[in-house]
């Protein structure tokens, strides 16, 4: 995952572009080929690039962190196991999403039989965890409240887009059970809703907030 730019230089919302327009598929193909040939550095770069996506898909299934850990580990071990057979690098993100989703669903089903109480994605624990410390910041807490007011499907879609903005509409459609043609409109609706709620909460600079009210 790339580092974030400093907050002092906000950038305009990115235009939606397919990965091949950015030359990323070529680079991805080279990384996969190098990893398959035994280049451990290339493998590490693949892990760093997609770790956020895999984690987000695992957490989407409301697994406790320990189970999400296991699911993510299994996904990476399976990818390493299947790497020699992976011929189309453009399918890698879809493969990771599908594999993580299936294993997470399998584990979730098993755990629900064991522990009928479903864990929260962000536990309302009386003991301070890292999320409590982060959410003591007023803006962060307000953004989190805004985010959790969105419909659940919007939360999942925006989470995925946030951690892996290069995800293609085809992969998103597969991950969320949507028709490919409905991903773009769904993304637009969810972003508009998020922007509207952020504006309402005073979390956007004035020009953007004015734009959101139009």
């Amino acid at each position: 995952m790339t580092d974030l730019p400093p907050h002092s230089s906000p950038r305009p919302e990115r235009e939606r572009r397919e990965p091949d327009e950015l030359g990323e598929l070529g680079e991805l193909g080279e990384l996969v080929a190098a990893a398959r040939a035994g280049d451990h550095d290339a493998w590490r770069r693949l892990v760093d690039r997609f770790a956020g996506l895999v984690w987000t898909v695992a957490r989407r299934h409301r697994l406790p962190a320990a189970d999400a850990d296991d699911v993510c580990q299994v996904t990476w071990l399976r990818l390493a196991q299947q790497l020699p057979a992976l011929r189309d690098p453009s399918r890698l993100a879809a493969w990771l999403v599908t594999t993580t989703r299936r294993e997470a669903a399998r584990v979730r089903t098993a755990r629900r039989r064991e522990h009928p109480v479903e864990p929260d994605l962000v536990p309302a624990s009386s003991v301070d965890g890292p999320e409590d410390q982060v959410l003591r910041n007023e803006d962060d807490a307000a953004l989190w409240r805004v985010f959790t007011r969105l419909p659940e499907r919007c939360q999942h879609l925006l989470r995925t887009l946030a951690v892996y903005p290069e995800t293609s509409y085809v992969d998103l459609a597969r991950a969320f059970g949507l028709r490919p043609g409905s991903v773009g409109p769904a993304r637009t609706r969810c972003l508009r809703a998020l922007r509207g709620l952020m504006s309402e909460a005073g979390l956007l600079p004035e020009p953007a907030a004015a734009g959101a009210r139009r």
Binding site: M1, Q73, V74, A80, Q82, V107, A110, L135, R159, V163
Partner: protein, 145 residues
């Protein structure tokens, strides 16, 4: 706060729910640990209900795999100490079965009928490798056990 809602959200998610370092650590060495491609496909995953045994914590499942001339059925029971006990039947018989996890591997020989038994298998990612007598090994996919 930034004017880009997605960017603000990404920044928050990275801090509130980051990918755990232990996940990255296992992922980074997975390419060395994964082993041979999976030749055995999962064909059944059964919930067997609760075991009331004294040494058991009560969770029992059965996985069945097939492929490459090999069949494997294994029951997984969670022990009181949180590790797994495996009892399985493999064909061809007299094979050696290795239970692989990211932290350790446990090897066990099947008897002439094909039964095998392994204790103390760590819960979490697990792959089983069957080494038939005189034949090439075949592995199951990695799964959360």
């Amino acid at each position: 706060m930034t004017a880009d809602p997605l960017w603000a959200l990404l920044d928050l998610l990275r801090r509130i729910d980051p990918v755990p370092e232990r996940v990255r650590a296992v992922a980074r060495v997975a390419v060395r640990e994964a082993g041979a491609p999976a030749g055995l496909a999962l064909v059944a995953d059964h919930d067997l209900g609760r075991d009331t045994g004294v040494r058991s914590r009560g969770i029992r499942r059965q996985w069945e795999f097939a492929g490459a001339g090999t069949g494997l059925a294994v029951q997984l029971t969670t022990s009181a100490d949180g590790t797994l006990e495996l009892v399985g039947l493999v064909t061809p018989a007299k094979a050696t079965v290795t239970a692989r996890t990211p932290s350790r591997s446990i090897e066990t020989d099947a008897d002439p009928v094909g039964w095998f038994h392994a204790r103390g298998v760590p819960s979490g990612p697990l792959s089983l490798v069957v080494h038939p007598p005189g034949g090439a090994p075949s592995a199951t996919p990695w799964m959360v056990a």
